[in-house]
């Protein structure tokens, strides 16, 4: 399973490295969303600074939709998904590989957006450990839920419009939990408030990863 996961993740990341869709399209889009928030909110009165954690995670959420769609778009041409199905790879491995690749891209994106949140929104990081744990748990949850729903919608003609409607209500607790925990990391909220949220993020990630590992074979068959 792990060997298959590494193979699939390697393939997806190699495609991204060569096509540069993630770096040339998804990452600029994420930064653009951060800039647009400044237009929507008043940048002069500290609104951005206070809302920085939430805005950061909304930008990540939007970008993760694109990352998930991209992850399945690379297999929509030339019956590549049939190839994957017939490859004899363990479906659980395929799931972990795709989720791992999406998670790595999201991590890089979060790092980039984090820098821009500091630059543009004047946010200050106080609790590095809390932020690191939050990002790890939230990213795992987003990637696993994203790949489960991405697979669910993959073969459909309306997948681009359907995926946001399916995925966003599901990852609403991730947005809530990650935002609250990040507020604690930026000293907007007391640090002790962060841990229940981090636990919630962890539970979310475990549930969706387990579901993906167990059900991905069925989903792959039906797509």
């Amino acid at each position: 399973m792990w060997r298959d996961a590494a193979l699939v993740a390697g393939k997806d990341l190699r495609i991204e490295a060569r096509s540069r869709v993630a770096t040339n399209q998804i990452a600029p889009f994420g930064v653009l969303v951060l800039v647009l928030f400044a237009f929507a909110l008043d940048p002069d009165r500290g609104v951005l600074q206070r809302a920085a954690p939430g805005l950061f995670w909304v930008a990540v959420l939007f970008a993760s939709l694109l990352a998930v769609q991209r992850s399945f778009a690379v297999e929509s041409a030339d019956q590549a998904r049939d190839g994957l199905r017939l490859s004899g790879l363990d479906p659980a491995g395929i799931f972990l590989g795709k989720a791992g690749a999406v998670a790595l891209q999201l991590l890089a994106l979060e790092l980039l957006l984090g820098v821009f949140v500091v630059l543009l929104y004047d946010a200050e990081l106080h609790q590095g450990v809390i932020l690191a744990v939050t990002i790890a748990a939230a990213t795992a949850g987003l990637a696993s839920a994203g790949v489960v729903y991405g697979m669910l919608a993959a073969g459909l003609r309306v997948r681009e419009t359907l995926l946001p409607l399916l995925l966003l209500p599901v990852v609403a607790p991730v947005l809530l939990g990650a935002t609250r925990a990040t507020e604690a990391a930026l000293d907007i909220a007391p640090a002790a408030d962060a841990w229940p949220w981090v636990r919630l993020l962890g539970v979310f990630a475990v549930i969706y990863t387990t579901f993906g590992v167990l059900a991905f074979g069925t989903l792959l068959e039906e797509a």
Partner: protein, 243 residues
């Protein structure tokens, strides 16, 4: 082709519909006749309809989840479960929307705003979106068996996320803001209000059953005609060829 006009009715559903109608009318009449209270005025009358609607919304999604589970278990797999899941979810979306609407109408005079970010309201709104997504997924077509399986998985996934959403919004409103609204009326309501509300529960539950049964039969007919029209088209083409 068929001699009789296709219908989704039967003696039993006619009886059920009649009972639902009667119970609804009685609820409306008795509900409107409830005396206004000092705190909420006439708006307290919404107690006859709002809690029952919320109950029916949750009931319908519960039925969708169970039917989806029954479809996924190989031993009980039957297209009928898929039809039931879809029918119940559709009726559920309507009831959820009505729950939110009546809640807003009730909330405006009680809280002064149409919407508050209370845990229960937020969760209900999320539930509405989850099942709108589910219904959208059901409509994507493809092979009926594939569609049914995919929809069943999506329904179970949606139900899986409900407890997580529940805890998330619950903490969000209590842990973070330390402010919580009580949705139940502050004053002690006498038995009349409770009695009408219970009647409302009966009326809405009967209505749910009636609507879902009809919707279920429509789904089944659609399923049957999907195959029929293809067969008819083939037969038509065959007839064109001279023997």
């Amino acid at each position: 082709m068929t001699a009789s006009r296709p219908t989704t009715t039967s003696a039993a559903t006619r009886l059920l519909g009649g009972a639902a109608f009667l119970a609804l009318v009685t609820t409306v009449v008795l509900g409107l006749g409830l005396p206004p209270t000092t705190e909420q005025g006439d708006y307290v009358k919404l107690i006859a309809i709002h809690p029952p609607l919320a109950w029916a919304a949750y009931l319908s999604f519960g039925v969708t989840a169970l039917a989806s589970l029954a479809y996924l278990v190989p031993k009980t797999r039957s297209r009928a479960w898929d039809h039931l899941a879809g029918a119940s979810a559709e009726v559920g979306v309507v009831f959820t929307a009505l729950t939110l609407a009546t809640g807003s109408i009730w909330g405006r005079p009680t809280w002064g705003v149409w919407w508050v970010w209370d845990a229960r309201l937020t969760l209900t709104a999320l539930l509405l979106f989850l099942f709108l997504g589910y219904l959208a997924l059901r409509r994507t077509g493809g092979h009926p068996d594939t569609n049914a399986k995919r929809s069943a998985i999506a329904a179970l996934l949606a139900v899986l996320v409900v407890p997580i959403n529940h805890y998330a919004v619950e903490w969000w409103r209590t842990l973070h803001q330390r402010q919580s609204l009580t949705l139940t009326p502050q004053e002690n309501l006498d038995g009349n209000y409770i009695a009408v509300m219970l009647l409302g529960f009966l009326a809405i539950t009967l209505t749910y059953g009636w609507l879902t049964l009809h919707r279920y039969r429509i789904e089944r007919r659609l399923d049957q005609t999907a195959g029929q029209s293809l067969e008819a088209a083939i037969a038509e083409r065959r007839a064109e060829v001279p023997a």
